[in-house]
């Protein structure tokens, strides 16, 4: 990897932050700002000496995994698409569906050229001739900003494969990868039955590489600075940095860049520390899990460790629940939201999730004469694993984790009725409520 060895010398300061190094709170980074900081886009293969597939080797060696939630090895996905039958299609997923996540939006609104570089590099590596960048359709301002950034690039002929902007409906499941592919194929933005999966047969039947926009931004830096540079942050088993969105009862909620493997507690401290005594952390988002604060504090933020602790990395979400909040009431609100966001396609999800939401709401707000916990657990077992996508599974994981993390609370609610804390103002953002205005 001789051509990559230059990197650490050229950018010693690029340890952390990496992605957010050039971020301004006030304005979007122009193509000039971007190139001044990171250097020009290294078009792999354009010189003829570097074959396009070489970038895939480097991405493989870097250990980069998808930052959208599933954590699948990026290089392996690229290889599978590159070797599929027919011209590949690249889709950048910037339609962040998690209400508690803000990282993709931050990248797109402040550092679009990192993402756009990543799209062009990925398209080049898998020899695609079609590339899409999907964002939420209702975000007109974001669309304008990205069109501006794309215009700067096409003026200097930066993207050999034109990047087409597409607006996706702003629903929770619409950003699931099969839903995006379905939408680009002219259907509703709803998940489809698999197989085939998008990497086998996606947009117009072609092998389709769907990557989260943060994953693509990392790709843009790996192509410049190499796999060893990438691995110099994070853990050997989970290399690199990741963007996390920290919210809830912390002093400085926001998006932070961390090394993978940073303990969850230190991530909370990075966001200014708890604003009140913490009771639990929600990790991984609304498909993630509640962990009691004490046990979550030392857990390294990476897929394997969080999973082993009963949580999830998801798209890098950490929400701090203070002791003054009722975790069951928070869960009830989120599950109600998730039930409303079902795509109306699969019976068990269509009927089961609202029933589960009712049961959790009963437990949180009514009490259950000693039977509500059992009813929640039974319904959770009935809907898990029975949808075409993971929507019901995600909701069930959240509910089951709530019964574990708030076990004593749940027993109290079940036998004696709601605790006084249910009256507190809601903590977690749920779209549709008046206080939610990120979009």
């Amino acid at each position: 990897m001789t051509e990559l060895a230059l990197a650490p010398r050229r950018s010693p300061a690029l340890r952390l932050p990496r992605l957010l190094a050039g971020m301004s709170y006030y304005e979007i980074a122009s193509l000039r700002d971007h190139e001044r900081r990171y250097g020009p886009l290294p078009l792999w293969g354009a010189s003829g000496r570097r074959r396009p597939g070489r970038l895939i080797d480097v991405v493989d060696a870097s250990g980069l995994t998808g930052r959208g939630g599933a954590g699948f090895p990026t290089g392996r996905k690229m290889r599978s698409v590159a070797s599929g039958p027919g011209r590949a299609v690249v889709v950048a997923n910037g339609a962040e569906g998690e209400p508690a996540s803000g990282k993709d939006r931050l990248l797109l609104t402040r550092l679009p050229h990192l993402v756009l570089d990543g799209i062009t590099l990925a398209a080049h590596a898998v020899r695609a001739r079609t590339a899409y960048l999907c964002i939420h359709g209702h975000e007109a301002e974001l669309r304008d900003a990205l069109e501006g950034a794309l215009a700067q690039r096409s003026a200097v002929g930066l993207d050999p494969v034109p990047i087409q902007l597409r607006g996706i409906p702003g629903r929770y499941v619409a950003s699931e990868q099969s839903a995006i592919v379905h939408y680009l194929n002219g259907g509703p933005a709803k998940p489809t039955f698999s197989p085939p999966r998008p990497h086998q047969r996606g947009v117009r039947g072609r092998p389709t590489l769907v990557h989260n926009v943060e994953t693509l931004a990392h790709l843009a830096l790996i192509a410049r600075f190499g796999d060893r540079w990438f691995r110099s942050a994070g853990l050997p088993s989970a290399p690199g940095s990741a963007l996390v969105t920290v919210s809830g009862a912390v002093r400085r909620p926001g998006v932070y860049e961390i090394e993978l493997g940073t303990p969850a507690g230190r991530v909370v401290m990075t966001a200014g520390g708890p604003a009140e005594r913490p009771a639990a952390l929600l990790v991984g988002g609304y498909f993630g899990a509640w962990l009691p604060a004490r046990s979550a504090w030392p857990v390294p933020m990476c897929h394997a460790a969080l999973k082993a602790a009963g949580g999830a990395m998801g798209a890098g979400i950490v929400a701090v629940l203070p002791v003054s909040c009722c975790g069951l009431a928070e869960t009830a609100r989120v599950v109600r939201y998730l039930a409303g966001e079902n795509a109306g396609q699969c019976g068990p999800c269509m009927f089961g999730l609202p029933a589960l939401a009712d049961a959790v709401a009963d437990l949180a707000y009514e009490g259950g004469r000693g039977r509500a916990v059992e009813r929640v657990a039974t319904l959770a077992g009935l809907v898990a694993g029975r949808g075409a996508c993971r929507h019901p599974d995600g909701a069930v994981q959240l509910v089951r984790s709530a019964l574990r993390a708030f076990e004593a609370d749940a027993r109290w609610h079940d036998q004696r009725g709601p605790c006084p804390r249910v009256a507190r103002a809601p903590l977690l953002p749920v779209p549709g409520e008046a206080d939610w205005d990120w979009a």
Partner: protein
């Protein structure tokens, strides 16, 4: 050759014929949708499984070669 059952949950409308034809491994949930008690089709039931799949009005029940993995 061993076989597995899969339900395409998007296609399934909960007619429930499969549970009548293959009660050994298919139960209905409270909303009338099939629950597979085991994905694997026991050897002696392969013919019944095929018949249940053919009877499904929406062709949502699939008999596939066993792969040992989900999806």
């Amino acid at each position: 050759m061993s076989y597995e059952l899969r339900v395409n949950p998007i296609a399934c409308d909960g007619h429930g014929l499969c549970a009548e034809l293959l009660p050994e491994i298919i139960e209905l949930d409270p909303w009338g949708y099939p629950i597979l008690l085991s994905a694997e089709v026991p050897r002696g039931l392969a013919e019944h499984a095929r018949r249940a799949a053919a009877a499904c009005p929406t062709l949502a029940l699939l008999v596939v070669k066993a792969t040992g993995e989900r999806g």
